[in-house]
């Protein structure tokens, strides 16, 4: 029986042949013609992809990423029939608060690496020892080194239940949970399930659109006239995200069809992952043109892209959108979490949650903050600020 709940150490070791094959494919890349416009109106621009492909094939070193991951305590355990990969870093401080952080699309555990030290050793990163966390960072089912579900059903609710099992298996009787993107849906589901030991959540993407308002979006209607400016902006942002982001629509309805492309064409995959939201894309275009993007480097971005490629997980990852559409709640519907909840709105996130709607969606809102900088990949881009938000958010729950 022990083997079923065993927690096994895990090391990343990708075969040399897989790396050689990746380099061969990038070298054999057949680019499309350049877009006939001078802006991003037809989406990911050829010059950006050329820079990325050239760097990926000639200067990028996956083994450096592997070493970075293997320097962290990583484990694998089977939950609900699926292998779950996770990073688990305990703080040296005794009273550290256990925290499980869930990533999203098009991310992975690699998004969260920069917050590990500020969270586990706050005293060395501008905080105090009393703010320390023990950090658990799992790979979502179908993502990275976690197993690929062989049957349907792994929606955010089921993932949330698995995370509660994981925290229990790690011996944590009292913990908090955090997430953005898919991680926010999983974290909210944990909040609704309220498993023993979960005392609160923090999200960096608030699910808060009132159902009646979402109904207008579903009907394709313009924003109701009585909305405030902040509500109207959120309305437009959710409406755009629902109907006009092709990657979301195709992954929500036909993940297998796009999967053939993303499993076979690494540069195609890289372009697909660049196309998430406008602000993120603009930063990434600058990054590959030699500019800065907060703490995110070109190597960081390609670590994440390479992880998707080397584990052949674009299809299994994209299926989360499909599963959500089939059995899940509307992603933008109110989270309905009555546990203590904290929210940080980052200014470049693709939906800016108005405070009044957020308060209704999280009736026990213990913390609401509008950060000064940062976007969809806040933990990756602004790790120090992100860690400070988590310290402040959870301080009252310690």
């Amino acid at each position: 029986m022990a083997s079923k709940t065993a927690i096994r150490p895990f090391h990343v070791s990708i075969a040399e042949e897989a790396l050689a094959d990746l380099r061969r494919r990038i070298a054999a890349w057949r680019p499309p013609e350049r877009e006939p416009v001078d802006d991003q109106s037809q989406s990911v621009q050829l010059a950006t992809v050329q820079e990325l492909a050239s760097y990926w094939a000639t200067e990028y070193d996956w083994r450096r990423c592997e070493a970075k991951l293997n320097a962290l305590p990583q484990f694998m355990t089977s939950i609900d029939g699926l292998d779950v990969h996770f990073i688990h870093v305990r703080s040296p401080h005794e009273d550290a608060l256990p925290l499980i952080v869930s990533h999203g699309w098009p991310g992975s555990v690699i998004e969260q690496l920069k917050i590990i030290e500020p969270l586990t050793s706050p005293a060395e990163h501008g905080g105090s020892a009393s703010d320390a966390f023990d950090v658990v960072i799992p790979s979502l089912p179908g993502y990275g080194f976690s197993g690929k579900p062989a049957a349907t059903g792994w929606d955010p609710d089921r993932i949330a239940a698995a995370w509660a099992v994981l925290m229990q298996r790690l011996g944590y009787p009292r913990y908090v949970a955090q997430g953005g993107d898919w991680g926010t849906a999983i974290t909210a589901a944990m909040g609704r399930q309220a498993p023993d030991g979960l005392i609160g959540i923090h999200v960096n993407f608030a699910q808060m659109m009132p159902l009646a308002i979402l109904g207008h979006i579903r009907n394709g209607e313009p924003a109701p006239a009585d909305l405030s400016d902040a509500e109207k902006r959120a309305y437009e942002q959710v409406a755009f995200a629902t109907y006009h982001r092709g990657y979301g629509v195709i992954q929500g309805t036909r993940p297998q069809t796009i999967g053939y492309s993303l499993a076979d064409a690494p540069v195609g995959l890289a372009a697909w992952l660049l196309d998430h939201d406008t602000a993120t894309y603009e930063h990434l275009a600058q990054l590959f043109a030699g500019g800065p993007y907060g703490a995110i480097t070109r190597d960081d971005w390609l670590d994440n892209t390479s992880l998707y490629w080397l584990t052949n997980t674009p299809t299994s990852a994209a299926r989360l959108y499909w599963q959500q559409a089939v059995t899940g709640r509307n992603f933008y519907a109110p989270a309905d979490v009555s546990l203590p909840a904290a929210v940080t709105v980052f200014p470049e996130e693709y939906v800016q949650a108005p405070r009044n709607w957020t308060e209704k969606a999280y009736p026990n809102l213990i913390y609401f903050s509008e950060a000064g900088k940062g976007g969809h990949f806040a933990a990756w881009e602004q790790p120090q600020l992100f860690a400070e938000e988590l310290r402040a958010a959870f301080r009252t729950l310690r």
Partner: protein, 404 residues
């Protein structure tokens, strides 16, 4: 003083793809890295692995592009520069003197290859169950950015600009009185031709209603409720048309043609899957052709792979997808401005039962008050000309008889 000379030359064209490109394609097919199998037993997660593997296996081992090339090169093909762009077209004149000139426009994910089966029945009807007086002279162009036509280097090649180019093409060919036909994107081009009503255009035939009545568009955009008194058929059409507009391929090509272009230009398997992902009826028929069932009419393995190979070898997945971006822009601009002038030209319409929505006669009449022919065919779907060439030709004969 400088004079701008317009090059009106019509140059003969033949297809000869380099051996190296065919070898590269076979290499890529052999090196295909597959995703895991879908988790469902139906089409609900997209193109199924068994179907695509059967297609790609046939493509890499049994299929012969040179046979398609020979078929194309047996036809009179030309290119000519119009509005700065090289346009490729097939031009087959009928042996009959009073043949009616007809320009047929394909759509996405199609090409001139969709139309090859109708050439015989339309140009030589007597040999195909018709009468010599029903003969057509046929012009079958490749849309800008598709197949052997050049890809536009700047934005603006929407259906309206394409329609003007087609009028110029017919005039350059010396046709003073002609008709036009199209479905899918081709229907958009024909609709624009009917609105523009160039000299010589005597009427059009459509097998897709691309521009439904304004109240339908308003209901689709949520700007107005579903009109009271809509019949069950009209409600079904509204729902099906709306569902197609919201499909992933449609949204992606309309918003991000460049993004999807990267994998489609680099992965033959990815391209093939994307091109099968159009509508359920055609997917099921094409899937059957590769998984052991009988092909549905002209939708044979070779025909399907000819079309996909054409997209691959000409690397046109991206510029072809851009037509959705262009179409979306021009539709939005039109919706924001004045409605198009009423079409007074004669219009004929055929509804095929497997088409993505069954256009009600009431809608066709509203958009085209001079509706001279409306008929529901017994068989055929989105690729009607390809799938049921004899039936399609019979429709065109009947549709245009009163305009001769």
């Amino acid at each position: 003083m400088t004079m701008t000379m317009t090059d009106l030359t019509i140059r003969p064209f033949e297809v000869h793809m380099p051996d190296a490109d065919l070898a590269d394609l076979r290499r890529r097919i052999a090196a295909t890295r597959w995703p895991p199998r879908e988790l469902v037993t139906d089409r609900s997660q997209g193109v199924q692995l068994a179907t695509l593997q059967a297609l790609v296996t046939y493509w890499g081992t049994g299929y012969d592009w040179r046979a398609c090339e020979a078929k194309l090169n047996a036809l009179p093909q030309f290119t000519t520069k119009i509005d700065g762009l090289d346009i490729h077209f097939i031009h087959v004149k009928s042996a009959h003197e009073n043949a009616l000139p007809l320009i047929i426009t394909h759509g996405w994910p199609g090409s001139v290859i969709e139309m090859l089966g109708v050439i015989g029945p339309l140009t030589d009807p007597a040999a195909h169950g018709g009468h010599p007086e029903d003969a057509f002279d046929l012009v079958i162009p490749s849309l800008p950015g598709y197949g052997f036509s050049a890809a536009p280097k700047s934005a603006g090649w929407d259906p309206g600009r394409t329609a003007r180019a087609w009028a110029e093409l017919m005039s350059r060919l010396g046709y003073t009185r002609y008709v036009a036909q199209g479905g899918d994107v081709g229907a958009g081009v024909c609709d624009a031709m009917a609105i523009q009503a160039p000299d010589g255009l005597a009427g059009i035939h459509l097998n897709f209603l691309r521009r439904p009545p304004l109240e339908v568009v308003a209901a689709l955009l949520g700007r107005a409720p579903v009109p009271k008194g809509f019949t069950e058929q009209e409600r079904a059409a509204l729902a099906a048309f709306g569902a197609q507009a919201r499909k992933g391929y449609n949204v992606e090509q309309g918003q991000s043609p460049q993004t999807i272009g990267y994998p489609l230009t680099d992965s033959p398997a990815g391209l093939a899957a994307w091109m099968l992902e159009h509508d359920t009826d055609s997917y099921e028929k094409i899937s059957r052709a590769f998984t052991g069932g009988p092909p549905s009419g002209g939708l044979t393995r070779d025909h399907v792979v000819d079309n996909i190979t054409l997209y691959w070898l000409t690397a046109t997945a991206t510029p072809a997808a851009r037509m959705y971006w262009e179409g979306g822009r021009s539709t939005a601009a039109a919706a924001a401005g004045h409605p198009p002038p009423e079409v007074s030209l004669p219009v004929a319409f055929t509804v095929f039962p497997g088409e993505i929505y069954q256009a009600p006669r009431s809608w066709a009449e509203k958009v085209y008050p001079n509706l001279i022919y409306f008929h529901q065919a017994d068989r055929g779907g989105h690729f009607a000309a390809w799938e049921e060439p004899a039936l399609f030709a019979a429709e065109l004969r009947a549709a245009f008889r009163s305009l001769r």
